[in-house]
Amino acid sequence: MADLPDAAACYELLSRMALIRRFEEEAGRQYQRAKAGGFLHLAIGEEATIVGTTSVMRDEDFLIGTYRTHGHAIARGTDPKRVMAELFGKVDGTSGGRGGSMHIFDAENRFMGGYGVVGGNLPIAAGLGLASQYKGEDAVTVCMFGDGASNTGNFGETMNLAALWKLPVLFLVENNLYGMGTAVERHSAQTDLSKKAEGYGIPGARADGMDVLAVREAVAAGIQAAREEDRPTLLEVVTYRYRGHSAADPEVYREREEVEEWREKDPIESFARRCVEAGVLGEREVQQTREAAEAAVTAAVEFAEASPEPPLDTMYENLYAVSDSGAWYAVDERSPEPHRGEREEQMPAAARELAEAGAAYAEQPEEEPRPNPAVHGDAQDGVQSRVSPEHEVGSEAEDVRPEDERSPERAINTEDGD
């Protein structure tokens, strides 16, 4: 077991984890209130994995993650207010309301993004590592992804490239035992994911993701190898999420007892207990971390509530970079006049009318509170086939014939068989 760091460091670790926990709980609540939309993936239970990692990163290092990264951004130093505002789709959100929960980004704190496509962030991490190496900079890139991503083509491709080019990247699998609703032993032939490193000739390691100090130690070693020896590592951190894959997850794939078992190993409670038992922190300080988290999250919700909706005239902003050399425009063909799309005054009337008409739909109030899919089971509705079994597929389907638009008037000779 790793030694406890000094009191200040322990307090900091505990505070960050408590803040993420409280933030995620509140995000879930705001989702139920329909203040946050879309998908919502919570990292409750995975706080030690996140905070253990970021606590040994330098400011200049890059962190890149998945669609479950509210906490990662916060751990990197992003103001929880801005993350909550992004969930609310507001103008003060980390991406001004364009990204949402799955696409948090904070360039200033070198949090290089949440990414919505499983495995999509892996090659980008290699590119960030390449940029640092190319420019002779010291920065290391830490790339976090889930167990499910270790089955993607990107994983194999990127491991190989990073190993081949000796890129300063730490690849960190947050193995929470499920790729959405499919258990790791049902989705991966090799369930010790760290062993997947062997095929690429790079070191693989495994750490307890419920122990913030174990994560720190393992990540520090991986970062050192990347920084000092330009050597990528694959680190598997075994953790667990208490909530469903997303807020719309009825959790039919696991038993309640399993969740309870993991809650026993709660990363925050266990670390707090250890700090108190060792006399490094007092009960009062532990309580302070909870209170501080509560205050920060309450402030975040207030901030997000008060933040304005994004103005319609910003619709086209940042679709393109308008540089000195480039003299071209964002062209929305719905509006005949090509426009720069940068500012309201340059937005032609037709485009504005279309935007205003569409935006009016956002003003319509929700008829009733959002049902909890886990309780009401509506997430499962989509699974049920809408086609009754006796209905023969294709019995009423039209014959689809090749249609060559070059010759609309000409009968196509494949019709012969009719």
């Binding site: 991406s95 902003e317 005949p336």
Partner: protein
């Protein structure tokens, strides 16, 4: 001025930009030691070394994704995908990442990269090696799409693409690599995106030709003049996003007729898109329906006879142009 082949002009563009900006580097399958599957990167490894001219594994999505990350990290990657066909393996990184990142992160990250890819049919390479996918990339907001048909344009557009702060899909045509043309000597000949070239002036019909079809359109215009007394105006858009629609509309308002020639599939093609734009914005000026000349709606067959039958030729363009003039001549 010097007479260069297209492949040499493109190579010079990369070399000049690499000399100009240390952040510009080239990577792709067989671009370094092999010097490019189509020899476009010939000599670059020798001049710039392995740090800046990088052979990659055959991992298209990761090649592009690594480029995206390197661009976000402050470099200017020029990524070569061996062909347009293989770019389909990288669609996730191109569409979900390169094109989306600047917008979805609200401008906090830029993706200044060029993705070069040769395509097109005519070499009996069959269904998986003969794609023309201009229309596919044209559809994606956030991308710029270039499709040069002459060595001079190839060089000037590639230089502009490398300097641009946006992700650029740079489509080359395999049949054009050997084409010769006058190219200005080393200098800052940078072509702005969104400026079409009027290759031939005429008053009877407007013919828009994309990529190699710009050349076919010119040949057809010559025949139209000699054999039919028809003066066609030939426009090469050079970039599809942004598109210089003004130049095309101006021509259509003059000729009152339009033919669009492309090598890609007809459904949802460049021509389908452009015909709609012309109809929407110059309907009152049209004396005949806009005509499209496209590749056949099939996977490119291997048989030379079938393949040639599936690709647009001069005769098709002449016929389409004459169709717009039916009753007028």
């Amino acid at each position: 001025m010097a007479e260069l082949r297209m492949r040499e002009a493109l190579r010079d563009a990369m070399a000049e930009e690499m000399r100009r900006d240390e952040g510009v580097f080239v990577m792709g399958e067989d671009v370094a030691v092999f010097q490019g599957a189509f020899k476009v990167t010939e000599g670059l490894l020798e001049e710039f070394g392995e740090r800046r001219v990088r052979d990659t594994p055959i991992s298209e999505n990761t090649i592009v994704g690594t480029g995206v990350g390197a661009a976000m990290g402050g470099l200017r990657p020029v990524v070569e995908l061996m062909t347009v066909n293989f770019s389909l393996l990288a669609l996730d990184q191109i569409v979900n990442h390169a094109a989306a990142i600047p917008y979805m992160f609200n401008g906090q990250a830029r993706v200044p990269m060029v993705i070069r890819m040769p395509g097109g049919g005519g070499h009996q390479l069959g269904p998986t090696h003969s794609h023309s996918l201009e229309a596919l990339y044209l559809q994606v907001p956030g991308l710029l799409v270039a499709c040069p048909s002459t060595p001079a344009d190839g060089k000037a557009l590639l230089k502009a693409a490398i300097r641009d702060d946006n992700p650029v899909i740079f489509i080359e045509h395999e049949s054009l690599y050997g084409t010769r043309g006058e190219v200005p000597d080393e200098g800052d000949e940078v072509l702005r995106f969104g400026e079409a070239a009027v290759r031939r002036e005429g008053s009877d019909v407007t013919i828009v030709g994309v990529l190699k079809m710009a050349q076919v359109a010119e040949q057809a215009a010559t025949k139209l003049a000699h054999k039919h007394g028809v003066e066609a105006e030939v426009i090469d858009p050079r970039t599809l996003r942004p598109l210089d629609l003004d130049t095309i509309l101006e021509s259509v308002r003059k000729t009152n007729r339009a033919v669009i020639v492309e090598e890609g599939w007809p459904h949802g093609g460049v021509g389908a898109n452009l015909a709609t734009l012309i109809t929407e914005q110059a309907f009152d000026h049209l004396d005949a329906p806009v005509q499209r000349v496209t590749g056949a709606d099939v996977h490119m067959p291997y048989s030379k006879r079938l393949e040639q039958a599936a690709i647009p030729h001069e005769e098709h363009v002449v016929k389409a142009a004459l169709a717009t003039l039916e009753g007028a001549i």
